[in-house]
């Protein structure tokens, strides 16, 4: 638990962004290649501007990218009930019949809805019982389905999408690394990594390894006054032995470990022990914010995130709030595109991990 000085206030994560700066469709549907997006690189040294295809040249042989191998499910279901036709976005699977889910007025219009305990929703001919609001996250409910959710998704589901985009075919939401279905929202950071970029990375001696973390519905705006008080839903994850070994040997060589996506940061930081990364599996609700910092990685490749979201708290944990604010101001000025189909941002931890740990160590002693 951090002292008061560590507490980040939610208003520190506000920034202005013109509404037109978001990508409403993926580049491949705009007549471009998937990897034809821009890449901004930020560190305490400042910000530089590139094409995403420059990524292999921005890294050093021996560096390691860690990607999320979770694939995206069509987790948004049409439902009806006392309030009429609504939408039900599945979030966290406990079993085929037991989920945390978010009832919304529609894909475009969020809740919370005036629902009651023991109320029934209908999806096709199947029933879903709302048995408890999710503790600490009032817009989610624990729900029991009388049919396996995988069957409901196969029959009625579409990918979760929000007001800024329509629902595209499910393939749009997979990356070349997706192999284990379970995320309800696309782990989108690796979307622009095409086979040619992957091959260029590997050809240059930059490693790629994987974790699995099945992403739930993304947090809306942080609702609590201090960023650290926000509750996150547990997410199922796995950091395999081979990945833990690859990360540890990369650190030992003095190379950089780059997480590809915020989901990877959560998995790696959950699996971090004081002496390095360990193989680890289960369910994590770790919230990475400046009060706890990051230990397992030297940088994050991600998209551009909305104001006052938990993702921004994570970015601040990696590079510091000043670096993040500077980077986002520059991204607005250079008209980068926001959201999952938009441009990419590589944010690097400076000083280096080793120097940082040394500094922390001497400050504590």
């Amino acid at each position: 638990m951090g002292g008061p000085s560590n507490n980040l206030k939610r208003e520190e994560l506000f920034f202005d962004r013109p509404a037109e700066l978001f990508a409403s469709s993926p580049p491949e549907l705009r007549g471009k290649a998937r990897d034809d997006v821009r890449l901004m690189v930020s560190s305490l040294k400042g910000t530089t501007h590139h094409a995403f295809t420059d990524l292999p040249d921005l890294l050093t042989p021996g560096d390691l990218l860690v990607v999320n191998e979770s694939a995206t499910l069509p987790a948004s279901l049409p439902a009806r009930g006392r309030l009429g036709n609504i939408r039900l976005n599945l979030s966290t699977k406990f079993s085929e019949n037991l989920w945390a889910a978010e009832p919304r007025w529609s894909s475009e219009q969020p809740g919370p809805l005036p629902l009651q305990k023991d109320e029934l929703l209908y999806i096709g001919e199947s029933r879903a019982l709302l048995f408890q609001p999710y503790p600490g996250i009032p817009r989610l409910w624990l729900m029991h389905f009388d049919a396996p959710a995988s069957e409901l998704m196969a029959r009625y589901g579409e990918p979760i999408h929000y007001s800024h985009t329509p629902a595209y075919p499910i393939e749009t939401y997979q990356t070349i690394f997706s192999r284990s279905p379970g995320s309800v929202e696309m782990p989108s950071a690796a979307r622009p990594v095409t086979p040619r970029i992957r091959d260029a990375l590997l050809g240059k001696g930059i490693g790629i390894t994987g974790i699995i973390l099945h992403a739930g519905v993304s947090s809306l705006e942080i609702e609590t006054e201090t960023v650290e008080s926000q509750v996150l839903c547990p997410e199922s994850f796995r950091v395999p032995f081979a990945t833990a070994n690859a990360v540890n040997s990369t650190h030992a060589r003095g190379n950089r470990v780059i997480a590809v996506g915020t989901t990877v940061v959560r998995a790696l930081e959950t699996a971090w022990a004081s002496d390095g990364l360990r193989a680890c599996a289960g369910s994590t609700s770790l919230y990475v914010h400046p009060g706890i910092g990051v230990h397992a990685l030297d940088g994050l490749l991600t998209g551009f995130h909305d104001p006052v979201t938990s993702h921004l708290a994570m970015l601040s944990a990696i590079a510091g709030i000043d670096c993040v604010k500077g980077a986002y101001a520059e991204a607005v000025q250079h008209r980068y595109l926001w959201h999952e189909f938009g441009d990419s941002h590589l944010i690097l931890r400076k000083p280096t991990r080793e120097a940082f740990n040394l500094m922390k160590y001497s400050a504590n002693n």
Binding site: G136, L142, R238, C280, A281, T284, L286
Partner: protein, 254 residues
């Protein structure tokens, strides 16, 4: 592929049956209601009959079978009745040792604690849970069942004045871990669960003059129960979980 009829009949007969102690209020009540919602048949027990009846009534609405047997788990005759009932229903597959005794209140320093009262706490929190497990073994072996022992953060921390309650729970932690090893060959799993700080009557008794309204209600543990009851029991056996913790870990296999 056609599944033979007898196999379907077997599956239909295999309903989950849970025995929850201390089910009249607080955590035990929340857990019993949750399990009923997941289609467990239930045997519930607590000392206060009126409270237990109320829980049974709300559970019956779920359409599952429920037997509410008021009594004291320190009474061997009562333990026998509980397990005869689970046996009659088909055999217990989930035994939750939740009933606990906070001991003297206000909580005493160890130097001044009543030893006579300490023995009662040990009996309720340590001896009787083991007795119930011993008596349930034949049923648990048949169902490849799981035992959940409710422990406490006080079992590890050395908080001032929590030494009586905490030491009984520390004993229960070790019983859980040892039993997990000893019972694995029988296909029986044992986990210990620390539910964390909650707004319950027992907690109010422990903090007799304090306002505990800032603590979450025991419903805060529901996501954990949803998770635990859907894990492979033998994979999680021997673990101690914090229901409000940020990591619920299973052994890494790859």
């Amino acid at each position: 592929m056609q599944i033979p009829d007898f196999a379907e009949a077997e599956v239909a007969r295999l309903r989950n049956i849970a025995l929850v102690t201390g089910a009249g209020r607080g955590l035990g009540r929340v857990l019993a209601v949750f399990l009923a919602g997941q289609e467990y048949d239930l045997v519930i027990t607590a000392r206060t009959r009126a409270e237990l009846e109320e829980v049974a009534t709300s559970i019956r609405r779920s359409g599952v079978r429920v037997s509410a047997l008021p009594g004291d788990i320190n009474d061997p005759g009562h333990r026998t009745r509980l397990l005869s009932e689970t046996s009659r229903m088909g055999g217990v597959s989930l035994l939750v040792n939740n009933a606990s005794d906070i001991g003297e209140t206000p909580l005493p320093e160890l130097a001044k604690a009543s030893l006579e009262r300490f023995r009662i706490t040990l009996e309720t929190n340590l001896v009787s849970p083991l007795a119930l497990i011993q008596d349930a073994l034949p049923q648990l072996q048949q169902t490849h069942g799981m035992v959940v022992n409710i422990t406490s953060g006080a079992s590890q921390a050395g908080y001032e004045r929590w030494g009586i309650y905490g030491s009984s729970k520390a004993g229960l932690d070790l019983i859980s871990k040892t039993l997990a090893t000893e019972l694995k060959p029988l296909g029986i799993s044992v986990v210990a669960v620390d539910p964390g700080d909650m707004r319950t009557q027992m907690h109010q008794e422990a903090f007799s003059n304090e306002d505990i309204s800032d603590r979450p209600l025991p419903e805060v543990t529901l996501p954990f129960w949803a998770w635990l009851t859907n894990q492979d029991p033998l994979v999680v056996s021997g673990k101690r979980y914090r229901a409000q913790g940020m990591l619920w870990e299973v052994p890494a296999t790859t």
